[in-house]
């Protein structure tokens, strides 16, 4: 924000807003990394990597806590108004959604560990297709956050139709395979959890975009 708005007369105010922003960007980047690794762990059924992802979830949780402390402190000491107020309130909400994003990436890792066997190639391709769309969405959201771009945020906000489409294709494939190959039920029911996690993750990404649009414009977007 401070790149677009003039600086505050009180410099430490800008510094606090700056660290709030960079924490959010870091949360987003961390979530993205976790998601990428979770997909890699799923593809390769790499238990070690999946465990590492689950352990790393603490990092995002602690960043979430830092954002909370910082925003409450800002509200108490700076009494922000207008754009500043919207930035702070939106940051509080974005941090919650970004924390959930990382949670769902961890869920994918958890499902990987619970997989009793390898997914079929056909289903895996469709999981990949969904993951690509979700990752792109999250990547754009992080970019929107970094650049404070209403335009990119708006595109992300409108972007979850593509997620829904890929999700439906995947679920269709899973149902078909469960019907055709009852012996793969245990694997495929875990993959339903994966599909669900990715879809929910994307919902939180669009929430982030909605909060960001509010922060920039003052207009409220609801899912």
């Amino acid at each position: 924000m401070t790149a677009k708005e003039k600086p505050h007369i009180v410099r430490s105010f800008d510094e606090e807003l700056e660290s709030m922003n960079s924490l959010l960007v870091s949360m987003g980047q961390q979530g993205l990394q976790q998601l990428e690794k979770a997909m890699q762990a799923l593809r390769t059924r790499d238990a070690e990597l999946a465990h590492a992802i689950l352990r790393a979830d603490d990092l995002v949780d602690s960043m979430h806590a830092q954002v909370n402390t910082l925003t409450v402190g800002l509200l108490a000491t700076r009494q922000p108004v207008a754009t500043d107020l919207r930035h702070v309130v939106a940051a509080l909400k974005m941090a919650t959604d970004l924390e959930r994003v990382a949670d769902y990436a961890a869920s994918v890792a958890g499902s990987t560990l619970a997989l009793p066997g390898p997914p079929s190639e056909g289903v895996l391709a469709k999981i990949d297709a969904l993951a690509v769309v979700v990752q792109k969405l999250l990547q754009d959201a992080v970019q929107a956050l970094t650049e404070e771009s209403e335009e990119i945020a708006m595109a992300v906000w409108h972007g979850d139709d593509a997620v829904d489409d890929a999700y439906l294709v995947l679920m269709g494939a899973l149902h078909a395979e469960i019907a055709a190959h009852p012996e793969r039920l245990a694997v495929n029911s875990q993959l339903i959890f994966v599909a669900r996690s990715l879809e929910r993750l994307a919902d939180h990404v669009t929430n982030v975009a909605g909060h960001l649009i509010y922060s920039i414009t003052g207009k409220i977007y609801k899912g």
Partner: protein, 290 residues
């Protein structure tokens, strides 16, 4: 859902031509933005200009003061808030070099009409100043003075009643009821300010002007005055000049932002403090370099 773009991958491409940040009226535009007029206003100001000799202190200000509203006037030091406020009860008449043009109406009547007598006008449009200025008389006399010179009472018991109700409404009665004969100047700053408010409301005004009424008060005395302002709004229209953004947002329903003699923005207080329309308003209320 239908209007959503189906492809998220277009996001970055679309952003290339992005204009970043909120769209606000640029700094060099000095036309008033927002809603200056209200239906059935108590006071109406049209194209008001104020000059001190050659100095143009207020520039073409048009705005209404509504019934039962508190309107806050904010802006940097020297922008003309006090000057504009003083136009509203012709207090500027007392400054020789000061010249006011334009139209200012109270209940549809031009207050600068030569036929208007300023003494009753200043009772109708009362004023509370930054520094409490009780008369060097008893607490009782501070209140009784106005009603007496305006001929509002006939008997001692009527006067007693006005003194009591005014002090009660100003939230001061319990603190002074046992020492009404003692000098008003012996009260604390916050009490003196409430005494001045009691004095103002004793003459049944329609509008109360307040010029930084809490700037010399502690937070508790300030809260008492702010609570009082909110209560007085039920009967009066109140225009308050304040340097405290928090005070403006707490007490007012509308806020007017002045900058170098121009009324830059006026609108609902919540709108001003969450999403101001003008860049200058934004920079000022968020504490940015102007």
């Amino acid at each position: 859902m239908d209007e959503r773009t189906p492809d998220a991958s277009s996001a970055t491409a679309k952003a290339s031509a992005a204009s970043k940040g909120a769209k606000r009226v640029p700094r060099d535009n000095r036309q008033t933005v927002g809603t200056a007029r209200v239906p059935e206003p108590r006071m109406r100001c049209v194209d008001v200009n104020v000059y001190y000799g050659d100095k143009h202190a207020i520039n073409n200000v048009t705005m209404d003061i509504g019934n039962n509203e508190v309107i806050a006037m904010i802006g940097p030091s020297g922008c003309g808030k006090s000057t504009f406020l003083r136009c509203l009860n012709r207090m500027n008449d007392t400054i020789d070099s000061c010249r006011v043009t334009g139209l200012i109406e109270l209940d549809g009547r031009n207050i600068y009409d030569p036929k208007v007598d300023v003494v009753p006008l200043r009772a109708q449009v009362g004023m509370v100043f930054q520094k409490p200025n009780p008369f060097p008389k008893s607490i009782y006399e501070n209140i009784a003075y106005g009603p007496r010179i305006h001929g509002l009472v006939n008997t001692k018991s009527e006067m007693d009643e006005i003194v009591e109700t005014s002090l009660k409404r100003a939230g001061l009665w319990n603190e002074v009821k046992d020492r009404l004969d003692q000098p008003g100047t012996g009260l604390s700053g916050g009490q003196q300010q409430r005494l001045c408010i009691a004095r103002t409301i004793a003459v049944s005004p329609e509008v109360i002007l307040m010029d930084e009424p809490c700037s010399a008060l502690d937070p508790i005395a300030t809260s008492i005055i702010e609570d009082l302002i909110d209560e007085l709004r039920e009967q009066f229209a109140i225009a308050i000049v304040t340097h405290s953004m928090q005070q403006a947002s707490r007490v007012s329903q509308r806020t007017a932002y002045f900058h170098l003699g121009d009324l830059i923005e006026i609108g609902p207080t919540e709108q001003i403090f969450t999403n101001p329309l003008h860049e200058l308003t934004h920079d000022y209320i968020t504490g940015r370099f102007g």
